[in-house]
Amino acid sequence: MSGFNKVVTSYDEALEGLSDNMTVIVGGFGLCGIPEGLIGKMKSLGVTGLTCVSNNAGVDGFGLGLLLEDKQIKKMIASYVGENALFEQQLLSGELEVELTPQGTLAEKMRAGGAGIPAFFTPAGYGTPVADGKEAREFDGKMHILESSIVGDFALVKAWKSDTMGNLVFRKTARNFNPMAATAGKVTVVEVEEIVAAGELDPNEIHTPGIYVNRVIKGSFEKRIEQLTLKK
């Protein structure tokens, strides 16, 4: 077996090394493009004290909402939460801490984490509560704040296809936070719909090169729709 074969066949292998109090970056936007099986496995592993970094926190009974049921999440870093009664309860009771981050800043923090950029200036959040305690500076007549990057102990990613070497292709808007998440994990685990042989993906059309990926597992997905909206 080649040193570049990233395929694992069990969720136990996929999440080997994941333990309490770790920081876990999770791809997805709402319920779109989330690594469903890996989240389920986090739940069954029972790891607690997690800091989860993800744009949203799922809904009751699906997505990261599953981890709230057993109070596995200590802190959530997200741009938009509260699609979720359990989340609200735990937040109000003080069992859960939330760090709200502008969506673009959150995306850029992950990208920077993967790209060796420890901090960057952004205009988003200047003059708002998000700027509290952060350095502000003017560039070109406009105020910006300094934001720092995020790296996860694990990054859990959902992709459409992977080859055995971990080269990834995403599908439509299920791409969202997944490519940045993939770069920002000390261990990056990817759950995909389809695994193909190395060489099957066009090198010109790979969204995430395999260098960022440690493990790939073929999952099966419910792909629950959060807001089914049809043409009238």
């Binding site: 936007f29 709200l100 800043t105 988003a124 808007t173 791409r175 969202n176 959060e226 049809l230 043409k231």
Partner: protein, 219 residues
């Protein structure tokens, strides 16, 4: 009479130009897509990673992997492209979107906007709103002129925590079209049948009223 939601969208749509890339927020802003003038083309940017957002899908074409920033199922138009959230906000932060339309709780005469957080109420988060208002060069805020208690939402100074500072220049409310410059609100148009007196009464911030205030052209 105060504008309906549809009329608000109609008036905002008059800010569109052919070839504009536009980001529409959730709620009334979304309706603007229904009033793109005949013969004009605009492309809608959805900040979750889609340029070229189309109408809602049919039951046959619905795709869980294709949603908008409001998490609704959508379609993609001809010439659309998909990209990551980092690339999407690079586009937004870099000022490449021509027009951004969003709602607000309050706007003040310095161009500050509050739209995401009411102390004492549970906060859901700012989503992409802070990035959008801090970056866009051309933003239209659309909202009711006063809240349900009749209190003005166009203030001397915002009372709620801000979404962005000094970034708003245009407001389309249900009563008026207003521009912000030199630290003041400027009344440019009024809703059909709405008196200047009513607008003045419902504007808490400093309002500059010209001699003649034309009526908006909405149907």
């Amino acid at each position: 009479m105060a504008l309906s939601r549809e009329q608000l969208a109609q008036r905002v749509a008059q800010e569109l130009q052919d070839g504009y890339y536009v980001n529409l927020g959730i709620g009334i802003p979304t309706l603007v897509a229904n009033y793109v003038p005949e013969g004009m083309e605009v492309m809608l940017q959805s900040e979750n990673g889609l340029l070229g957002m189309g109408e809602f899908p049919t039951e046959e074409t619905v795709d869980a992997d294709l949603i908008n920033a409001g998490k609704q199922t959508v379609t993609a138009t001809t010439g659309a492209s998909y990209f990551s959230s980092a690339d999407s906000f690079a586009m937004i932060r870099g000022g490449h979107v021509d027009l951004t339309v969003l709602g607000a709780f309050e706007v003040d005469q310095q161009g500050n906007i509050a739209s995401w957080m009411i102390p004492g109420k549970l906060v859901k988060g700012m989503g992409g709103a802070m990035d959008l208002v801090a970056s866009a060069r051309n933003i239209v805020v659309t909202m009711t002129h006063a809240n349900k208690k009749g209190e003005s939402k166009l203030l001397k100074e915002c009372t709620l925590p801000l979404t962005g500072a000094g970034c708003i220049k245009k407001i389309v409310s249900d009563l008026a079209y207003i521009e912000i410059r030199d630290g003041k609100f400027h009344l440019l148009e009024r809703a059909p049948g709405v008196s200047v007196e009513e607008i003045v009464a419902k504007t808490a911030g400093e309002l500059v009223v010209p001699e003649h205030v034309p009526e908006m052209n909405v149907s």
